[in-house]
């Protein structure tokens, strides 16, 4: 199963439509968490989906999937790295009204190339990348530790203890 997630705040039609069109001819099933849709939002025809998954179900989908497909959000990136799942990201673009600013482009640029993390420059690149990553999954090499870097934790603790 492919788990598609675009966060919970805003829809991301460009990504959902591209994955849905790919799913129309693919044998691999897709499940999508599509965020809070508006009446005008794209509603996929070739996958199961929900607007919002409770935390436990979300974790189950991440654990069960073969590939995650997501916007370039930190929640998705950290989930994939923690579960050691390959992740294909399409960054949201503020210029297309998909976010407040272009930080997802920066995030994608910073994280692209880490083992297991893959970026599609635009929706036209998605189908070929989906096929390639399913044929040869490239997952993160080691699970992310459960906590922040020791230096950061020490700095926060020093501040808390005054």
């Amino acid at each position: 199963m492919i788990f598609l997630t675009v966060g919970t705040q805003e829809p991301f039609d460009r990504l959902v439509r591209a994955v849905d069109q790919w799913a129309a001819t693919a044998t691999m099933p897709v499940f999508g968490q599509l965020g809070a849709l508006t009446p005008a939002s794209y509603r996929p025809a070739h996958m199961e989906w929900a607007e919002f998954l409770p935390a436990r179900l979300y974790e189950e989908k991440v654990a069960a999937c073969r590939l995650m497909v997501a916007h370039a959000g930190m929640g998705s990136i950290i989930s994939a790295l923690t579960a050691m799942k390959p992740l294909l990201m399409l960054p949201r673009r503020a210029s297309l009204g998909e976010h407040r600013n272009e930080h997802q482009l920066a995030t994608a640029e910073k994280f692209a190339g880490r083992p297991g993390l893959h970026v599609a420059a635009d929706e036209r690149e998605l189908p070929a990348l989906l096929d390639r990553l399913l044929a040869a999954p490239e997952a993160p090499e080691a699970a992310l530790s459960a906590t922040a870097s020791p230096e950061l934790i020490a700095a926060v603790r020093r501040f808390i203890l005054g």
Partner: protein, 160 residues
Amino acid sequence: MSGSPRVLAVASAGGHWIQLLRLAPAWDGCEVAYATTSADFRDHVARLAASRGQPAPGYHVLTDANRWQKLRLLRQAVEVLLLLLRLRPDVIVTTGASVGYFAIRFGRLLGARTLWLDSIANAKELSLSGARAGPIAHLWLTQWPELARPGGPRYEGQVL
């Protein structure tokens, strides 16, 4: 300050919240309350605390709001203020976004010490809320060394 300060760890649900929880060892031994915009993670923070041998933390749910929802933002601000008046935290730690901004803004007025950790998502420039909250926080951190500057945020490491 006594050996066990009251800490409020606050962030909106989603990526900000996941980053906040990765800092949890920093407040071991403190009297901890969490606040976020979803009721969904109450069990998770209780399990997280238990796994570190810590007592069950407080958990408080705030109204969720995005950039379009001005009325909900107002309601969120009032809820944050009321929560701070009730909990009277010594220290506030936040990773964003608007709930964190409100917590720092009101927390300072109430005498709390405040920490803003800018999201690791902001790799090229600081977030809008970070640019507003950071300068008024007692400690302002970025997760990218190239964004650190004198009079601005410091770099002390990443949540990854």
